[in-house]
């Protein structure tokens, strides 16, 4: 599975970092940074949580 992040949609809420801190971080302006484009399987539930809670619908998890 591959994570897609549309950074220009990001509203800097940091909800993705709260949900999946091993996969996402934020820059100094708060904009999300993708740390792991293809996270390990045990992280995927956290990523799905991040997809669901992102208030900008800026994250997708897609089959690759």
């Amino acid at each position: 599975m591959k994570v897609e992040l549309e950074a220009d949609k990001c509203v800097a809420s940091g909800q993705c970092v709260v949900a999946a801190m091993d996969v996402f971080d934020q820059d100094d302006d708060g904009i999300a940074i993708l740390l792991e484009e293809t996270p390990a399987p045990e992280l995927l539930d956290d990523v799905r949580e991040a997809v669901a809670v992102c208030p900008a619908a800026a994250i997708r998890l897609v089959e690759r």
Partner: protein
């Protein structure tokens, strides 16, 4: 009871999150999603920001690509409002006359804008509302905005940037003071005045007229267009007489349950948040998604129900300011600036309720700083401790 038919009423952020969560959790029965708007689920926060300013077109607001939505295998009923609920028969009535039976129900019907007497004013809740207002925004337009809350302030910032002459009318002496306190409210408000917006506080508006608005004292403020942004009310009329407990929203317990196998989520839900020990109804985008997920899980896994105890979060973009807040600021007893400087518009303000830190609001601060305060709020940290640690770090 086996759940074979689940109905989610409301197809915005909360309803969509509920539907997605049910499928993710493994629910494979009939899943009906009812929405009164004809559009596929879309995002509302950009309506008063990028959509209004025409930086974004409506397509960007779509919450899920069509393929993702199709993969949910929904019985999708868009453009049709729910009109009634029969709790005993476990049936939802729709405006097209159909009746939809359920084993489990999630109510996520949201809110709608409060209005003022008189015709012709804009409101800002739906994509249609935003596009209608956007069509009018142009240099030189005389725009009166009634209500200097977050929505009115965001719209004012966009209209100002597009060259409109904005008058902002606010009934309270200090805008947002009830939410963020007087000092922070004054500071946020100054951003309007600095840009030449005609901000008038302590001004009641009695009606919208053909020429603008009439104030409580009889004066008419002339306008080409009027936007009313004076808050909203929960969409619960369709539930009146159903037996579902109502009171400024659908009244739920800490699991977001309002009646057996009937849950509520999002702007319409008033639930008991055990983290703050109080009942609350939160009109924030993040809460809609989180509560939709929580309600769906609790409905689908009754043996593993969890209280919904989130730290609320909201943000607002006004001019060059990004305002972010965590926690429950309402009814706070004290505000303290714990980082940065109010005058520089780079700060964190912490909010005390009782003896604990209940909220934090930041402007222009790096995310790691505000996230520490989120953790303090989530942990229910004592005020003395949180502020003392902060002071020690500040001196170091």
């Amino acid at each position: 009871m086996t759940l074979n038919r689940i109905v989610v009423v409301g197809a915005s952020a909360a309803g969509l999150a509920a539907a997605e969560t049910l499928r993710r959790e493994g629910y494979d029965g009939t899943l009906t999603l009812v929405g009164d708007e004809p559009l596929a689920p879309y995002d509302r926060p950009p309506l008063s920001k990028q959509l209004l300013s025409a930086e974004w077109e409506p397509e960007r607001l779509t919450l899920r690509p069509a393929a993702d939505l199709a993969a949910l295998d929904l019985d999708l009923r868009l453009g049709v409002a729910a009109t009634g609920l029969e709790l005993a028969d476990r049936t939802v009535r729709l405006a097209d006359g159909s009746q939809v039976p359920y084993d489990g129900l999630i109510v996520a019907t949201g809110v709608r804008p409060r209005k003022l007497p008189g015709e012709g004013a804009h409101v800002l809740r739906t994509l249609g509302d935003a596009l209608t207002l956007r069509d009018q925004l142009a240099p030189g337009l005389r725009l009166v905005i009634v209500g200097a809350g977050f929505l009115g302030a965001e719209a004012a910032a966009v209209a100002w940037r597009l060259g409109a002459h904005v008058t902002l009318l606010e009934p309270a002496p200090v805008p947002l003071a009830h939410a963020v306190g007087t000092r922070v409210g004054e500071l946020l408000t100054r951003a309007h005045v600095d840009r030449g917006i005609d901000l008038r506080c302590g001004v009641g508006v009695s009606e919208v007229t053909e020429d603008g608005v009439r104030l409580a004292d009889g004066e008419v403020v002339e306008a080409d267009e009027v936007l009313v942004a004076v808050g909203s009310r929960p969409n619960t009329e369709w539930l009146e007489g159903s037996g579902l407990p109502l009171g400024d929203g659908v009244v739920c317990d800490e699991y977001c349950e309002a009646a057996r196998n009937v849950y509520a989520a999002g702007d319409v839900a008033r639930w008991y948040n055990p983290l703050f020990g109080t009942s609350m109804r939160i009109e924030h985008r993040t809460n809609a998604a989180e509560q939709g997920m929580a309600a769906a899980r609790n409905l689908f896994r009754p043996d593993a129900r969890k209280p919904f105890a989130p730290v609320p979060y909201f943000w607002s973009d006004q001019y060059d300011m990004k305002i972010q807040a965590y926690g429950y600021l309402r009814g706070h007893d004290e505000v303290a600036v714990v980082e940065g400087d109010l005058a520089e518009r780079r700060f964190v303000a912490a909010y005390r309720t009782g003896d604990r830190v209940a909220g934090a609001l930041s402007v222009g601060m790096p995310p790691k700083v505000i996230r520490q305060w989120r953790q303090a709020i989530a942990a229910g940290t004592a005020w003395e401790e949180a502020v003392r640690v902060e002071a020690a770090v500040g001196e170091g």
